[in-house]
């Protein structure tokens, strides 16, 4: 058994989310693997293009939708730039699923508040669909999502879909200056919108993912609202290579993000050295 050897996946669909962010819909080439593959919301994988290398992204689709996975990535380096040139029908490598996951079972019967910024919506989207596909198992669902500008918002079709759902409260915001002339959503930074949109913390789990600066200013807002540290959950996106707890770069203190994470409660994060 070669733990570093990927399985092959075929690109079935490509969505250009923004000028530099793409979503791939992927299916395993091998039917047996396709049938046996399963994952949980929050897990990630190593995606590769042979000759270019591997990159780490979360699985952005929900485990409630089987037969395929989706990943979203921003063109920032060698591998993501090469991936961005691919077409439907091309083949890439995938290793996974790796890491821990969001406590969906424990979240049942509770309100769920999703807070995401930028491409940080990718891992949160996986949980959003997981919750919405099992809607009756959860109480109130609130989504707060923000990006720098209207052009930087990802999953735009889904944002509309969530906004049209009567049993989901969705707030989409852009940073001041990032609005277009016809923008009808919120204008303001994510923490400020959370403050405006959310009134209570009782029986509620908050799932937060976004740039470090957004998280830094959102946590105090949640704390002020009365969220207990163990009810604020995030996912860390450290640089990884192996995804298997070996290559040594994703650790925060004695925790390997790829194995012990990437999902952590704020209570757990506080026990770690501030090095993430």
């Amino acid at each position: 058994m070669n733990i570093y050897k990927p399985e092959l996946m075929v690109i079935k669909n490509i969505i250009d989310e923004t000028k530099d962010t793409r979503t791939f819909k992927l299916q395993f080439k091998d039917e047996e693997i396709a049938k046996s593959f399963s994952f949980k919301a929050g897990q990630f994988g190593e995606y590769s293009l042979f000759g270019e290398g591997e990159s780490t992204f979360c699985i952005a689709s929900s485990p409630t939708r089987s037969g395929y996975i989706e990943c979203s990535f921003k063109k920032v380096g060698k591998v993501t730039s090469a991936l961005a040139k691919l077409d439907v029908g091309d083949v890439i490598g995938f290793r996974g699923p790796y890491g821990n996951y969001f406590p969906i079972e424990e979240m049942k019967g509770k309100n769920v508040l999703f807070i995401a910024g930028g491409i940080g919506l990718a891992p949160v989207r996986c949980v959003i669909w997981n919750v919405l596909d099992l809607r009756k198992d959860f109480k109130a669902v609130t989504i707060v999502y923000g990006a720098r500008s209207v052009e930087d918002l990802i999953y735009k079709k889904e944002l509309d879909e969530w906004q049209s759902m009567p049993d989901v409260k969705t707030f989409v915001t852009v940073d001041p200056g990032g609005q277009s002339n016809d923008w009808k959503g919120e204008v303001g930074f994510v923490p400020a919108i959370v403050e405006k949109a959310v009134q209570q913390s009782e029986n509620t789990i908050a799932i937060v993912c976004g740039p470090p600066i957004m998280i830094k200013f959102t946590i105090p807002v949640l704390t002020k609202l009365g969220f207990a540290e163990e009810n604020i959950i995030t996912t860390l996106e450290n640089r990884m290579k192996c995804g298997l707890g070996k290559c040594g770069r994703c650790n925060v203190g004695n925790v390997y993000v790829c194995k012990d994470g990437p999902v952590f409660t704020y209570q757990q994060l506080k026990t770690l050295p501030a090095e993430y």
Partner: protein, 344 residues
């Protein structure tokens, strides 16, 4: 403890027999740089007084670079071809205790959940013939990290020179016992009490610090200014990780070997490099050298101990002997110990 005796002459015959039986014999080279394979038993030069080579024998079990698979990009898809696992039977001959322990220490991380068979195959195919060590310099500190010049921990067999032309050999593991079985005619029965007497006469390096004190201090002083002392002079060259017998960080990199083919490689990497933890976004959790040096010390004396109950250091002193700016990890540990003792 089972113990045998062997003359220097028979030890050479033993080496000859091993070569005939297709074992690869690997020894410290005469230049003191690295471990090398020998093809003739006349090259068998072992001594308890040798200075540790600049590099350890780590590279033979955890390769500097190795293909993890090959790929062919074809018109109708991609073909992945497995990389062959090495079946070479290796014998590390005359290893100092600070090298002998390395395979067992690294084995923890390569097996704690997912199993790395590139490492495991080589580790399983290895026999470590350790040897009592009589080399000392200001950089050695094995006794501070739960080892000693007479420790057979990590060795399958352990050589003890009894005089210039004679050795006792201890059978330490079952693997060692099976390995030596076909060659027993070259050995005479030994007496462990005699070698115990030899051990007692060995001058042990003074213990410079308590590793548990270091672990606890790091746990409580993550933001301590002391880390800047090494961090500010460290060049980030990574030599310390490369010569270390137990540093095991690696990178995964694709190499193309033609228009449509190539291989994915597992290459040594080092936590002292700034790119090691750099995110795609530009954010870097360890963006300065102090943080990276703190990671090195903390990984060795705290994180690995917390996780795997092993110190990620054998006290061999290689990183300090080779450091271009004179960072001495043993000295740092001593200073941390005194900081802890003075509660500052």
């Amino acid at each position: 403890m089972d113990e045998k005796l062997i003359t220097l002459n028979n030890l050479k015959i033993f080496a000859e027999e091993l070569l005939k039986a297709n074992y690869t014999l690997i020894l410290q080279d005469k230049q003191g740089i690295r471990w090398e394979k020998i093809s003739n038993s006349d090259e068998l030069h072992i001594s308890s007084k040798l200075k540790p080579t600049k590099a350890s024998f780590k590279e033979f079990v955890f390769s500097k670079t190795e293909p993890i698979f090959y790929f062919n990009n074809k018109n109708d898809g991609v073909e992945l071809i497995d990389s062959n696992l090495s079946a070479e039977k290796m014998v590390f001959f005359g290893s100092k205790p600070c090298d002998a322990k390395s395979i067992n220490i690294m084995s923890k991380v390569f097996n704690w959940d997912y199993k790395d068979n590139f490492f495991n195959t080589k580790a399983e195919n290895s026999i470590v013939i350790g040897m009592l060590c009589e080399y000392r310099d200001e950089f050695c500190f094995c006794t501070s990290v739960n080892l000693s010049p007479v420790s057979s921990d990590g060795s399958d067999l352990f050589l003890i020179p009894t005089d210039e032309n004679n050795f006792a050999i201890r059978i330490v593991t079952e693997k060692g016992r099976e390995f030596i079985q076909p060659f027993l005619k070259l050995f005479a029965e030994g007496n462990p009490e005699t070698t115990d007497q030899i051990f007692k006469k060995i001058n042990l390096p003074e213990k410079g610090f308590e590793s548990e004190v270091i672990r606890s201090w790091i746990g409580n002083n993550f933001e301590h200014k002391y880390f800047e002392r090494a961090g500010e002079i460290c060049l980030g060259c990574g030599q310390c990780a490369f010569v270390c017998p137990v540093c095991h960080c690696f990178d995964i990199v694709d190499e193309e070997c033609g228009y449509s083919c190539g291989r994915r490689m597992k290459n040594w990497d080092a936590c002292q490099f700034s790119l090691f933890t750099l995110h795609g976004s530009g954010h870097n959790p360890r963006h300065n050298q102090t943080q990276r040096y703190r990671q090195r010390i903390s990984h060795k004396f705290k994180y690995y101990v917390d996780k795997f109950d092993e110190i990620l250091c054998t006290g061999c002193g290689r990183c300090s002997r080779g450091c271009p700016v004179g960072i001495d990890i043993g000295q740092i540990a001593k200073e941390v110990h005194s900081l802890a003792a003075n509660k500052v």
